[in-house]
């Protein structure tokens, strides 16, 4: 009976409670979740369009003091082969991106122990000289810059914005629950700080995305807490453009070594994607994660709540470090989208179609 009520409620466009979300997560079949998520997606995006962005991940450094247990990418400061990209390398990567029709750079890096805020401001000014949208610095990086500089996070965001930052990626959210973060990423900013930084960014006029990395040590209730925190902030600011959930990729990570965590299966990925689409009724876009799921499951995601294929990711390093190496060209993304019965459209960070 409860399921019938939820079907009525969700298909009528009504918001669901946390308790209802847990019920769906536990009881609904894969078909039911797909049906409900697709209904929400179609209400928000009645046009049969699937968008994607052409961009490149640039990781300005892999040196990181955070040492998150789920990460296979970082190098501790005392490890000799960590790197910081030079301006020449940045310039070359930007030129390559633009040559491929790219419109933005996703700029993220490790929490470097001693680069000053001026270094990042200078990097932004240099990149903006190349005339490209810079989607950069996730909340843990901003938090880190604040701690190093002695400024507050709002001031750091403002300074970066003045230097040319266009928008902020939703990385480092992992699971927005303090218990989970304390256990697997104790050196990273806590859930309240992550949300506060996004709040400040939205207030300063920067759009951001939100992500979730699930399928490790978190409980179902903690996934719900994550969705609730994101939905509540979006109610206040409307600043999130998109939500991007993806499963933890365990290979070569300390967390998998100590906790025997198996890789989240495709069915569990599609369920979580659909559950995100159903709960986050105030976030316009949900991205499929082909980088972790591969082209086949990413295509199916379009029937489980996703309306965006994410990025062509001309370069990707972090997931690759965890042993997953899917590659997709723009042409291949367009073919998959068309094969699924949708029209592919290139977009910008703010989801304006080109």
């Amino acid at each position: 009976m409860a399921m019938q009520r939820l079907f009525r409620q969700i298909t009528a466009g009504e918001r669901i409670s946390g308790a209802d979300w847990l019920l769906l997560a536990k009881k609904a079949s894969l078909h039911e979740l797909g049906f409900l998520a697709h209904a929400v997606r179609q209400r928000l995006h009645p046009e049969a369009v699937v968008s994607y962005v052409i961009d490149r991940n640039i990781n300005y450094t892999d040196i990181c003091i955070s040492a998150c247990k789920f990460c296979a990418f970082f190098k501790a400061p005392d490890v000799p082969d960590g790197q910081v990209l030079s301006k020449e390398e940045l310039q070359e990567k930007i030129a390559e991106t633009k040559a491929l029709g790219g419109t933005q750079i996703l700029l993220q890096g490790g929490l470097h122990p001693d680069l000053p805020l001026a270094f990042y401001e200078d990097m932004l000014r240099f990149m903006k000289g190349e005339e490209i949208h810079v989607h950069g610095f996730s909340p843990p990086e901003i938090h880190h810059f604040a701690q190093l500089s002695g400024l507050n996070t709002r001031e750091v965001i403002r300074r970066l914005q003045v230097a040319g930052l266009d928008s902020i990626p939703g990385g480092g959210a992992e699971i927005l629950s303090n218990r989970v973060r304390q256990e697997m990423a104790p050196n990273k900013c806590d859930a309240d700080t992550w949300i506060r930084i996004m709040h400040e960014a939205h207030e300063l006029g920067l759009r951001t995305t939100a992500t979730m990395m699930f399928g490790h040590i978190e409980h179902l209730e903690e996934r719900l807490e994550h969705l609730q925190r994101v939905r509540a902030l979006q109610d206040k600011t409307g600043g999130f453009t998109a939500f991007i959930p993806w499963p933890f990729q365990p290979d070569h990570t300390p967390l998998a070594a100590t906790h025997c965590i198996e890789k989240t299966s495709a069915v569990q990925y599609l369920r979580m994607l659909a559950l995100s689409r159903i709960f986050l009724d105030n976030i316009a876009n949900i991205q499929a994660s082909w980088v972790t799921q591969g082209p086949k499951v990413a295509q199916l995601s379009l029937f489980f709540g996703a309306n965006d294929f994410g990025s062509t990711m001309i370069e990707e390093n972090v997931v690759a470090a965890a042993g997953v190496h899917f590659r997709l060209s723009e042409e291949e993304i367009r073919r998959l989208v068309q094969d699924a019965g949708f029209t592919p459209r290139q977009r910008l960070m703010d989801y304006t179609l080109l």
């Binding site: 078909h31 697709h38 069915v267 199916l300 998959l336 699924a340």
Partner: protein, 369 residues
Amino acid sequence: MNAYMDAHIEQAGLGPILEKVRAGKRLDLHDGAQLYGHSDILALGYLANIVRERINGDKAYFIYNQHINYSNICINLCKFCAFGRKREDALAYEMSIEEIRHKVRERLDEPITEVHVVGGVHPDLPFAYYTDMLRAIHEERPGVHIQAFTCVEIHHLAKIAGKPVDTTLNLLMEAGLGSMPGGGAEVFSPRIRQLTCADKISGEEWLQVAKTAHNLGLKTNATMLYGHIESIEERLDHLDALRRLQDESGGFLAFIPLAFHPKNTELGVGHSNTTGINDLKNIAVSRLMLDNFPHIKAYWVMIGPKIAQIALAFGADDLDGTVTEERITHMAGAETEQALGHKTLIRLIQEAGRQPVQRDTLYNVLEEY
């Protein structure tokens, strides 16, 4: 049953098919064309799942098996195949009986219940090679079930033996043949065979061998190779021919849609891998059309473990098995693992909300998890 889902299926124009499916009535080719032409993969999955659960409940089967591809030397050299080689090709190989014995012996410590044997259509291995092979496998692993030789190979072996197909099958059964895999069916359409595998036996001949086997009490599987140049109509004619033979003989165990892998094949130039939607559509439509087949297999080697797992909600009830050393699909660039562990298969099934059942070749239950 869910009124909202049903209403959605009706809105998608599939109401009459839903009615037939619920009533257990047979779908006609027109229905099949509508299903294949439909873009709502969720609706197709929902329909196929009704049939799947009626026949197999929540069970999802797997088997502990070993694949042996005894030779890739082949006189057919089909254009969709990356496995077959001419005798003089540098990559051509054939295993001696002793090598086959060794392969079986190597894995005696594993609880393998089926040895699965498929090879090329070899120009000159004598008939005794095949009967010796079967006997040797049984000597090394007494009691194992040998599923061997597609209808194409059987047709060829009958020629080599100089005997009719039924006599040939009897000789192979005496030597230990337990059942036959479903390969070599490709697409039965003469047009497709002319364009892709002109030297292979015709669809009618394939069906005739299967029928002969069924009449002798041998169970077989059936396949369809999709995702190349075949039309929807040709797929449906293929399914229809299988359904008609199954009505007559009841000898098919499972139907296995096989995704074309273009890499390293002559036919594959300019072709992409099948998409997830295409894979699931073929699973769902075959489950709906082949109402008299007990099982639909999502062969993870072909479509990947991820889509195979999802397929358990789109009509499939079997993931095949642990499969080690598969060569045929991997020669065509399949990026799937060579083997999936027992534990991984069980976990994938459980995470799909199904009950894992380890089966033997004939679908007798060995263990439920």
